[in-house]
């Protein structure tokens, strides 16, 4: 489809990013979660998965869902530069989503982590996969990270010992409103990778195929009584 000149002016520059190589993780319940990069063609199922959580204030799901919804929409509509989305799927059903973007070849900007399944460390696994993509695959030197929930602060800032960069404000600030900004450096990643990041590659074709067609969850533990028709 032809893109008119005005639309071209609205779009950000796009640098080709290396693809994230899919991996699989055995969750505690014995099920296999495939972690792979989501494509633009899958935005509908991603947004549909996120949408019900807009109404869940518990554990800050509402703000994370609302922001991730808008970020993925912005990616779809070419209103954000160099964003990538990773998805975790169990038998094709989305268990969690993370998104992020590359600011420049040396700097990543971590956006959001949304665990749909809870109690299986899906959020922690997907955050680690996101950092793996930034530093190991894209080769960035560091990633700026913020937390919007106490759980996030404990999981990222404390457990990864992220460097506090808030003293550098406003010159150094995360894109999510300039809230206290922390950084995962390559050195910190090297220190924590073994205890935080796992997964087996390559994923056998038959297992990868289970995640070919992503599906929205029918139920959410965060939303008792909700059932997708």
């Amino acid at each position: 489809m032809a893109i008119d000149d005005l639309e071209k002016k609205l779009r950000p520059p796009a640098d080709p990013l290396k693809p994230y190589p899919a991996k699989m993780i055995t969750l505690a319940n014995g099920k296999t979660m495939v972690v792979r990069e989501a494509s633009r063609e899958e935005v509908g199922v991603l947004l549909g998965t996120i949408y019900p959580l807009l109404g869940c204030p518990k554990d800050f799901y509402d703000i994370v869902a609302a922001r991730m919804y808008s970020e993925i929409l912005a990616w779809y509509r070419y209103r954000v530069a160099n964003e990538f989305v990773l998805v975790g799927a169990v038998d094709g059903v989305i268990a969690g989503i993370v998104n992020s973007r590359q600011v420049d070849p040396s700097l990543g900007m971590s956006l959001h982590t949304l665990a749909v399944d809870r109690g299986l460390r899906v959020g922690a696994q997907l955050f680690a996969a996101k950092m793996e993509h930034h530093i190991d695959v894209l080769g960035e030197d560091e990633v700026l990270v913020v937390a919007e929930s106490p759980i996030g602060f404990k999981r990222w800032m404390i457990e990864y010992e992220l460097e506090d960069r808030s003293a550098g404000y406003p010159a150094v600030r995360h894109e999510l409103g300039g809230v206290p900004t922390y950084a995962l450096t390559r050195t910190l990643w090297e220190k924590h990778r073994r205890n935080k990041c796992t997964g087996v590659r390559p994923v056998p074709p038959e297992i990868l195929a289970t995640a070919d067609k992503l599906r929205m969850p029918a139920e959410y533990c965060q939303l008792p009584g909700f059932r997708r028709e």
């Binding site: 404390i158 457990e159 990864y160 010992e161």
Partner: protein, 130 residues
């Protein structure tokens, strides 16, 4: 008489107590001696106070852990803790600093001030390699 020594800056110490009657030693101090039933009087007014003595120095590691799920106040991913036994048979729990902890290893106990927990700074044992 006012005890002005409470305003002095003192060396950090954690005290064990000795029963003045039968010399049995305790950490932390009970109210009654388990052996002779002598009562401790923290004020030292009604009854003779027990003899405090600093608990420190050489000790042996009985058991230990590295805790990754620390409570609020600890802004680091993990911290080691251990239980030790002193040569006088008294035991104590505290923080552990050792590259490769092994049960039975020789350690040295010192006291530091900790501000992690709510309230005023607490005196904590730190057990490090001898």
């Amino acid at each position: 008489m006012i005890d002005f020594s409470v305003y002095e800056t003192k060396q950090l110490e954690i005290y064990a107590y000795r029963c003045p009657e039968c010399r049995a030693e305790y950490y932390p101090a009970p109210m009654l001696c388990a052996k002779c039933h002598c009562r401790r009087d923290p004020s030292g007014i009604v009854h003779k106070d027990w003899d405090p003595f600093p608990l420190e120095g050489a000790c042996t590691l009985l058991t230990w852990t590295r805790v990754w799920a620390l409570p609020e106040g600890y802004d680091r991913p993990c911290e080691m803790f251990g239980i030790v036994e002193f040569p006088n048979g008294l035991r104590a729990a505290g923080r552990l600093e050792a590259a490769s902890p092994v049960m039975g290893m020789a350690l040295v106990a010192r006291v530091e001030e900790s501000t992690e927990r709510p309230g005023p700074p607490a005196k904590v044992f730190v057990f490090s390699e001898a």
